[in-house]
Each structure stands twice: as structure tokens, then as C-alpha cells.
């Protein structure tokens, strides 16, 4: 047996996803029409938030929460960070980035520095505005709260993986008078962000950020491929639900046997 036990179904679903993503990337590269990403209010509001901070002369704050360097959410954050840092460099707006993870901090500093370099303002980059706070959850929350209050941030952008400190950040930034855009894949924290923030990116909307902000047709194509994969999985769920409800012994159905790979 060349494949590990119980992994054949996973591998096939993964291959289907790979094929779909490749098809749409190929279409985008060939200049063929690719469906557009629908309007995502939270991502549209990023430029508005930066503009507000610029007019008020107050900083923009960005954080990726508790995400580690290996998390997909952190990669989504980096797409937003690159865009925001370039805009802040262009408009001479201060950007403060607080970090929970040391490795993420190191990469964030490099992304922001590079953004200032590309905007032709390397002298304006302030290394002290990219800070590692702590890798203990509430020590990180306490440090960031202090920054909100002292610096009076005008815009707070939180994209990544958050836990209990999510609401602490959202409320503290509200008290500081900041416009807030938040996005997370942590379903337990989404209600808090929706209640407390001005704009909220729900779940996978944060993964569309790189394609949405760059408008790169190849990235848009990969997002479309991902959407088609999800449609396929929903179809599988519906078929499974029908089988589970209408068959006498669902565990004998070929679909169940295949998925369990026993």
C-alpha cells in the first residue's frame, strides 16, 4: 500500500482542489475571463481607515493576534500588512505593529521596512513602531491596550488568529476612538468582532485579501478555484446527508466506505 491508511480520500479531495485552482490560474494567465471576487466591505474600508488616520494625524495599528509563522491566517495578515504599510508610507502616516510571536515580529519588520523602501521613504521607517510585546496572551493584550491609550490610534486593523484578547482589543480601540477592521478564522471570536468592530471579515474572507487588494488575476483565479472546491464539498455533504437519512445502513454505502478508507 503506497498511500498511508485513511488518507486516500483526503488525498483525492486535495488533488481535486489542486486541479481546480490550477485550471483557474491557467485561465487567468491566458487572459481568459475569470469571475470577479464580490465586494468585501472590510477590505474596501482599509483605505478609508488609513485616510482617516492620515487626516487626524494619528497612527494606524495592525496586529495578527496569536498567529504563528506557520499559520495560514498570518499569511493573510501579511498580505494586508504589505498593502497598509505601503499606503502609510505614501501618506506619511505612522503605522504601529504589535506582535505576540517573535518570528512573526521579525518578518513584519522586514515587510514594513520594504514597503517604506518601495515608497521611496526609507528614512521614515521607525523600527520602534514594530514591537514584540510578549508571547503570553494577556501580557500581550495588556501591552497593546497601553499602546492604544497612549498613542490614541485612529485605525485598528486586526487580521489573524485571535482568542480571548479579541474583545479586549476591540473595546479598548473603540475607547481610543479608532475605526476598526477585524478578520479572524476563530469562530468563537467572530461574534465579538462583529459586535464591537466597524467592519468584520468572516472566516475565509481574510484569505481573499491578497487577491482582493492586489487585483492580480492569477491570485483571483486561485480564489475562484478555492470557491469551486467548496461547492464540491457542499455537494458531497448533501449526498452524505441524503444517504445517512434514507439508507437503512449508511455505514455500508460506498461513499462512507471510501471516505473512511477502511
Amino acid at each position: 500500500m503506497i498511500f498511508a491508511e485513511g488518507m486516500i480520500a483526503d488525498l483525492l479531495v486535495m488533488l481535486v482542489c489542486v486541479v481546480l485552482v490550477f485550471v483557474f490560474i491557467y485561465r487567468a494567465r491566458g487572459g481568459m475571463k475569470v469571475p470577479a471576487i464580490r465586494k468585501i466591505n472590510g477590505l474596501e474600508a482599509i483605505d478609508e481607515a488609513i485616510g482617516r488616520a492620515t487626516e487626524m494625524g494619528r497612527p494606524v495599528h495592525m496586529t495578527s493576534g496569536l498567529g504563528a509563522v506557520s499559520d495560514a491566517e498570518t499569511f493573510a495578515f501579511w498580505a494586508v500588512l504589505g498593502h497598509v504599510a505601503k499606503q502609510c508610507a505614501r501618506y506619511d502616516t505612522r503605522i504601529i505593529n504589535t506582535n505576540y510571536d517573535e518570528q512573526v515580529y521579525a518578518i513584519n519588520e522586514e515587510i514594513i521596512r520594504q514597503a517604506y523602501l518601495e515608497a521611496g521613504r526609507p528614512d521614515a521607517f521607525n523600527r520602534d513602531d514594530v514591537r514584540f510585546i510578549s508571547n503570553w496572551q494577556f501580557a500581550y493584550a495588556a501591552g497593546t491596550l497601553g499602546i492604544f491609550q497612549r498613542e490614541k490610534v485612529a485605525a485598528n486593523i486586526m487580521v489573524g488568529y485571535f482568542m480571548a484578547e479579541a474583545l479586549v482589543f476591540a473595546e479598548a480601540a473603540y475607547q481610543a476612538g479608532a475605526i476598526q477592521i477585524a478578520g479572524t478564522t476563530a469562530t468563537a471570536q467572530l461574534p465579538f468582532f462583529i459586535a464591537a468592530c466597524d467592519y468584520c471579515l468572516i472566516g475565509e474572507e481574510i484569505y481573499a485579501a491578497s487577491a482582493y487588494l492586489s487585483k492580480d488575476p492569477i491570485l483571483v483565479g486561485s480564489v475562484v478555484g478555492q470557491d469551486w472546491t467548496r461547492i464540491g464539498l457542499f455537494a458531497l455533504i448533501i449526498i452524505g446527508t441524503v444517504i445517512a437519512n434514507f439508507m437503512a445502513d449508511p455505514k455500508k454505502s460506498p461513499l462512507y466506505v471510501f471516505l473512511k478508507n477502511k
Binding site: 500500500m1 498511500f3 498511508a4 491508511e5 488518507m7 488525498l11 482542489c17 489542486v18 485552482v21 504563528a68 506557520s70 495560514a72 491566517e73 499569511f75 501579511w78 498580505a79 500588512l81 504589505g82 498593502h83 517573535e102 518570528q103 515580529y105 515587510i111 520594504q114 514597503a115 514591537r131 514584540f132 508571547n135 503570553w136 494577556f138 501580557a139 493584550a141 495588556a142 497612549r150 480571548a164 474583545l167 479586549v168 476591540a170 473595546e171 479598548a172 473603540y174 478564522t185 467572530l190 465579538f192 462583529i194 459586535a195 464591537a196 472566516g203 475565509e204 481574510i206 484569505y207 492586489s214 491570485l219 486561485s222 480564489v223 478555484g225 478555492q226 472546491t229 464539498l233 457542499f234
Partner: protein, 206 residues
């Protein structure tokens, strides 16, 4: 090479992790666990980067006597004193443990308890009859909150059942749908990273 080398390493590592999970001969050797150990070790080295940044930022605050510089002084004193003390006596020492139990833990709990007040203020702002969706949110939130306390059952005996239904059916359905989308999205992001399409982490916006 500044961008090509990290991309090549990313692709090779991604293929290696896939092989460790999907290919039987490789999975049998349990090499993925050993790979994870390398990841932990490299993360430990990064710990120094964070400490150096803390020292630089707070050291500058102290040298320039910025507002609240004494907080930075306390941070650095505790950072060094507690770390060095812990390295000498280990974490089993009662004095080291005393600081952890009587200072760190209460401070941590205090920060966590802020959530109680923040939930109340967020609920006060969010639960308004502004639109149809907001009204549904308000009604559902009130029913769930009442269902979680004895008062709900006193008002009407069915409120706990309604709350259980809300949590078990529409709430779970929504969360599972979001979770499904998140997993597919995370996979697509991983693919984009391995194909070199996602380059934000390399410091290039283009």
C-alpha cells in the same frame, strides 16, 4: 536569490510534509514528528529576537525619560531578575513559584476579567434594533443569555430548551459552514505559498 531561496525551501518543505502524511513508507517512519522538533528548535532561537526588541524599545524609553519610563524600567528589571533567578534555581524553587502564583497569575486573571466588562459594553452597543439582522441578533442573544441563567427558567420553563436549540442548530450550522470554508481557504493559501504566488511574507507588495 533573496526571494528564490526562501521559495525553494518552502516548496521542498511543503512536499516533504505532504510525503510524511500521505505516503505509507514515509509515514511509517514518523518523520513528521522529527520535523516538528526542528520547527520548535528554530522557534526557540527566535525567542532571542523578541527579547532584544523589548530591551531596545524599553531601553530607549528609559534613556530618553519618555512619559511612563518607570514602567519600562520595571519591565526590564523583572525580565532579567526573574529569568536569571529561574535559570539558577529552576522553576521548582518555592520563591520562584511564589512570584508566579502570587503576582503573575493574579495579574493574568485581572486582564482576563476585563472581558466581563467589555462584553457588557460591546453588547450594549451592538444589540440595537437597527435592522432586521440586528433585531434577530438581539432576540437570539437575549434568549441565549436568559437560557444560561436560572432566571430564564423562572420566566418561562421553555427558555433553556430554546437556548439549547439555538446553540445546537443554527449556531452550529453557521460555525461549521464557516469552519469548512476556512479549511478550504487555508489549503488554497498553502497552495499559493508553495506555487510562489503568495509573496507578501517576502517583503514584496508586487
Amino acid at each position: 536569490m533573496r526571494k528564490e531561496l526562501p521559495l525553494a525551501l518552502t516548496v521542498l518543505t511543503g512536499l516533504w510534509v505532504m510525503a510524511c502524511n500521505y505516503l505509507q513508507p514515509v509515514a511509517k517512519l514518523d518523520l513528521f514528528t522529527k520535523t516538528e522538533h526542528w520547527y520548535v528548535i528554530s522557534g526557540t532561537a527566535a525567542f532571542l529576537i523578541g527579547t532584544i526588541n523589548l530591551i531596545m524599545v524599553h531601553g530607549k524609553n528609559i534613556m530618553r525619560r519618555k512619559e511612563g519610563w518607570y514602567n519600562s524600567a520595571i519591565l526590564l528589571i523583572v525580565l532579567f531578575a526573574y529569568s536569571i533567578h529561574g535559570l539558577i534555581v529552576t522553576q521548582n524553587d518555592p520563591k520562584w513559584q511564589w512570584f508566579w502564583d502570587n503576582v503573575w497569575t493574579p495579574v493574568n486573571s485581572t486582564m482576563f476579567s476585563l472581558l466581563c466588562f467589555y462584553i457588557a459594553s460591546a453588547a450594549y452597543r451592538a444589540f440595537r434594533v437597527r435592522s432586521k439582522e440586528a433585531t434577530v441578533l438581539l432576540v437570539a442573544a437575549v434568549l441565549v443569555m436568559l437560557g444560561n441563567v436560572p432566571l430564564g427558567k423562572l420566566i418561562w420553563s421553555q427558555i433553556p430548551n430554546i437556548k439549547n436549540w439555538i446553540m445546537a442548530v443554527p449556531n452550529s450550522a453557521g460555525m461549521r459552514a464557516i469552519t469548512l470554508g476556512v479549511y478550504v481557504g487555508a489549503f488554497a493559501v498553502s497552495m499559493r505559498i508553495m506555487l510562489g504566488l503568495e509573496r507578501a511574507h517576502l517583503g514584496s507588495g508586487s
